[in-house]
């Protein structure tokens, strides 16, 4: 499965970078995440529930290792998820670009999916992956908005409702 796209955050590159590497933020943003802990500076471990088609509650243990960190520009995630109903392994490349006052993220994940998830959920895998990615990024964007509002309420008021939103 390949999931790729761009996403526009209404915040600075550094602010987005900090959020993306915050286990607490990601743990809450990631759909179905039950837990995500930063066990080393470049390693997270967690547990998530995913439903795809006829598989309604697949539980995965998740290990995410970060490499090639180039703050606040880019990094690569190595993803290794395992569960009773299958597994997923692969990498996701994340790059952040200046886009005026905003930041555009481009991402490309190349994941191998196996087991029951692949053999009976294949038909829905693409759409579910895209939906989960987008929902997760939406959640990060609202967290970003919340933080920025907390820091600079007056500035945020001026920018109105334009915060965040998917660009692709």
């Amino acid at each position: 499965v390949i999931v790729q796209g761009t996403y526009s955050f209404n915040g600075t590159r550094q602010a987005v970078w900090d959020l993306l590497l915050d286990a607490d933020v990601i743990g809450h943003a990631m759909p179905g995440a039950k837990r995500l802990d930063r066990v080393a500076p470049d390693r997270y471990e967690g547990l998530m529930h995913v439903g795809i088609g006829p598989i309604t509650a697949a539980e995965f243990t998740l290990v995410i290792a970060l490499r090639d960190l180039d703050a606040p520009r880019s990094y690569v995630m190595e993803v290794d998820g395992r569960g009773r109903f299958g597994f997923t392994r692969g990498t996701a490349e994340v790059t952040l670009h200046h886009d005026g006052p905003a930041t555009t993220m481009s991402y490309r994940a190349d994941l191998m999916v196996g087991g029951k998830i692949a053999s009976v959920g294949q038909r829905l895998l693409d759409t579910v992956s895209r939906m989960l990615t987008r929902r997760g990024l939406d959640a990060v964007a609202s967290e970003l908005t919340r933080r920025l509002e907390a820091l600079q309420p007056s500035e945020q008021e001026r920018s109105g409702d334009d915060a965040g939103g998917p660009a692709a």
Partner: protein
């Protein structure tokens, strides 16, 4: 064998149907024994990986779990399975043996390969416990694509073999180089055939029970080969053959995969039942079936046909790759079938055929109904269609010009068949079947008027007419025992198992014919090694031919005993006696006679003396082993409508003219053909096992793997030819696979015909609406490109165009 009033050839209602339709037939899952435990298997979800560690300790602690076994627990019972079929002794042939193991030990080689086994109080508990097992697998790059698998540096399915080549065979006759040089017209093409599932209604299932007091192991198994399973299990478990009883009861469809042995589950359940002293049951679920039951069909052919200007075949050369999956337990049977069946009904003076069998990280390949024959037929029929188009000949005409004539039989093709015997066709009369099929589908009128009229009305109709042979009824042998019981019923026991073929009726008819009884009073037992312990199994369309001939011979011997005894008791010569309607009587004096039941009672006296040199009872056992297989043949004609916008294909009519020699029961033969055509239509247009580049099967459910439904399969219009086989006393040939062998070729020709102006050329099976849509789009582009290049040959995605 047929004759007026004869039982053979009669459209007899099936003896087994009452039991089947009222739910009284025993299937493996109906076996419920006191104290029975249930088994589930942990299966690899990686296509290829190094198995570093399996830890079942947490699963063992789960309440309700009785045992968890991994490979080391099996001890001496852990060993690779036997090579089922020895490679055909073609000079220069290469064969590297690698057979499956009961539980994976160092490596996993396909998704679905069993790694561990859980025994628990219920299947639910066993399934839950699978989640407690930790299997540490280091994923390896998977071998999936056939050509890539043979390249240097490809990952290896079997490390010790040094390459993924499982076998390499060349068979030749005549002089291909000369044929090619002499040809007026050459056609060279690449053809693809992809995997499909047998998708039997009933999945596999096993119940194993060790009776410690009787010291007997009983295994109920959905196998097509109960006797070889018994023999193998006895050897593996250190028991004598008489201590093992294998029962193959009613089975909801075999189609080939159930002839495979040993499936890991067969070994594991028998071993664990002995080990635990408790009855065990495992019933395969549909999800398991998709990766754990054997599959068939992936081949890539590069074929070339040399013909004269008037369409006569000078020679064929074919090079193909055959995907055997992760293990090559079934030897060379499928690719040899392909190699031999390609020659079809045709007089082919020169033939050069070379194949390589390739290991991949996919489920094992073993014969599935057709067993490689459809590939050969597809290649040959397509080559002829393409040549006909190039020569401006009608597809029917090019076949007409190349059929073997009746005076060319027996016809020795000069190569070896799957049974290691020379490929010699016993008998055949092909042209009448072609003419009859063409007449039945209204071929000439369709081509002359109806097609153009339909097209003027915006409808795209096409006709396909193809022919095939089916090598059937091979050895080594089968046996049967026929017994007349004192109650007057006749009992027949044979070793072949039954999976819906109507054996209870066909065998009854054969025996009834000799014994002058109503087939309804003939009881048949199949597939119980305790009842009959000699034989091989149900495969290669051989049940009626081989076991049927044994039934015939045993019945004939019983008839002699009946008449001899009656002659003695009635004090008249045998020649004065008649045997009809269960009674022997003096022909000139019909009131004087004895019933078969009375005679059976008299043949087994409680006092007095049985004469030396005679046997008690009215019973005989006979065996039949043909020298080689008999060759059935036929022609399929199909009328389709293609919607070029949606690429949906509707089968409007389907005609089969089939010649299986003596027809024992026309209703059963027609059922086999109708069912085979349904399976063939699935293979041609619906069913395809889709693997990704990592060896993951992406459509392992009936949501995504499409079986044809009753709406997609028309009622097949059937006519029978009757060219008797000289190789068996019945004159019979097999029919089990005929319906599905040429279906893909028929589809391809008909779709090409329906979309004629596009210049479409189908070179792959299975199709699907979406794949056909792509091909139609490519043909449209090609047609445009051709037009702009003023007729230059452009065929998108074709490796080779017409070369002469």
């Amino acid at each position: 064998m047929t004759g007026p009033g004869g039982v053979i050839g009669r459209r007899q209602v099936r003896n087994e149907d009452a039991r089947l339709l009222t739910g009284r037939a025993l299937f493996v899952d109906d076996v419920r024994l006191p104290g029975m435990l249930h088994v589930a298997f942990l299966r690899s979800e990686h296509a290829h990986g190094r198995l570093r560690m399996v830890d079942g300790s947490a699963a063992r602690r789960r309440p309700g779990v009785v045992a968890v076994y991994t490979a080391p627990d099996l001890g001496d019972a852990w060993r690779p399975g036997p090579l089922l079929v020895a490679p055909v002794p073609v000079p220069g042939a290469v064969f590297h043996e690698a057979t499956q193991v009961p539980l994976a030990r160092d490596k996993v080689r396909h998704c679905g390969e069993p790694i561990a086994m859980v025994v628990a109080d219920s299947r639910y508990l066993a399934e839950d416990a699978l989640g407690d097992i930790v299997a540490d697998i280091e994923p390896l790059e998977a071998v999936v694509e056939l050509e890539a698998a043979l390249r240097a540096g490809a990952p290896l399915v079997h490390d010790h073999l040094g390459s993924n080549l499982a076998a390499h065979v060349v068979q030749r006759k005549g002089d291909w180089a000369r044929a090619r040089a002499d040809a007026d017209h050459l056609v060279a093409r690449r053809f693809h055939y992809d995997r499909g599932a047998a998708a039997a209604l009933e999945n596999r299932g096993i119940v194993a029970h060790w009776d410690a007091r009787a010291e007997e192991l009983t295994v109920w198994d959905t196998t097509q080969a109960p006797i070889p399973i018994r023999n193998g299990l006895a050897q593996m478990l250190g028991l004598s053959q008489s201590q093992v009883r294998v029962v193959a009861p009613f089975i909801g469809g075999g189609f080939g995969p159930k002839i495979m042995m040993f499936y890991p589950e067969e070994v594991c359940l028998a071993w664990a039942a002995l080990h635990l002293g408790r009855p065990l049951k495992w019933i395969e679920d549909r999800q398991e079936n998709f990766t754990a039951t054997t599959q068939e069909r992936a081949q890539i052919h590069d074929a070339e046909l040399a013909v004269t200007r008037d369409g006569r075949i000078l020679g064929v050369r074919d090079r193909f790759l055959h995907d055997c999956g992760a293990y090559d337990t079934y030897g060379l049977t499928i690719p040899i079938n392909t190699q031999c069946t390609l020659l079809g009904l045709y007089d082919v003076p020169s033939y050069e055929s070379e194949f390589s069998v390739v290991f991949t990280n996919r489920t094992l390949v073993t014969p599935v109904r057709g067993a490689g024959r459809q590939h050969g037929v597809f290649v040959m029929e397509r080559l002829l269609d393409i040549a006909a188009r190039g020569l401006g000949l009608d597809p029917v005409e090019i076949r007409r010009r190349n059929y073997l004539r009746p005076d060319q039989f027996p016809h020795d093709h000069g190569i070896l068949f799957q049974d290691s015997a020379p490929l010699v066709y016993d008998s055949g009369d092909y042209l009448p079947a072609l003419e009859q099929a063409a007449a039945m589908i209204g071929y000439d009128r369709f081509k002359r008027e109806e097609q153009a009229r339909a097209r003027a009305g915006g409808r795209h109709l096409g006709v396909g007419i193809v022919s095939y042979v089916e090598g059937t009824g091979i050895g080594p042998y089968e046996g049967a025992r026929v017994t007349v019981e004192p109650g007057g019923t006749v009992h027949v026991a044979t070793g072949v198992g039954t999976q819906g073929q109507g054996h209870y009726t066909s065998f009854a008819q054969i025996v009834a014919q000799s014994l002058g009884v109503d087939p309804a009073v003939v009881e048949v037992t199949t597939g119980d090694t305790r009842v009959f312990g000699w034989g091989t199994g149900t495969f290669a369309s051989r049940g009626a031919v081989v076991a049927g001939s044994a039934c015939h011979e045993a019945a004939r011997r019983v008839r002699s005993k009946v008449l001899a005894l009656a002659s003695e008791l009635l004090a008249v010569p045998v020649s004065a006696l008649a045997l009809e309607q269960g009674r022997v009587f003096v022909r000139a004096e019909p009131a004087r006679g004895l019933s078969l039941g009375d005679l059976a009672g008299r043949a087994n006296p409680l006092r007095g003396a049985v004469k030396p040199g005679t046997e008690p009872g009215l019973e005989a056992t006979a065996y039949f082993g043909p020298d080689r297989g008999s060759t059935a043949s036929g022609v399929h004609a199909i009328l389709v409508e293609v919607d070029p916008e949606t690429a949906m294909v509707k089968v409007l009519r389907y005609v089969v003219v089939h010649d299986c020699g003596t027809v024992i029961n026309p209703a059963i033969v027609e059922g086999q053909i109708q069912g085979g055509v349904a399976q063939g239509i699935g293979n041609a247009f619906f069913e395809q096992l889709k693997y990704d580049e990592h060896g993951q099967l992406l459509n392992a459910s009936f949501m995504d793997y499409l079986l044809p439904t009753s709406l997609d399969v028309p009622a097949v219009e059937i006519a029978h030819g009757h060219t008797a086989s000289p190789l068996n006393p019945l004159g019979a040939k097999g029919v089990g696979e005929a319906g599905c062998i040429p279906t893909g070729a028929a589809f391809a020709q008909a779709i090409d015909d329906a979309l004629g102006p596009l210049g479409l050329e189908i070179r792959e099976i299975p199709l699907s609406p979406s794949r056909l849509f792509e091909l139609i789009e490519a043909a449209r582009l090609g047609a445009t490109a051709r037009a702009s290049r003023d007729g230059a040959a452009v065929r998108p995605a074709a490796p080779a165009g017409e070369t002469a």
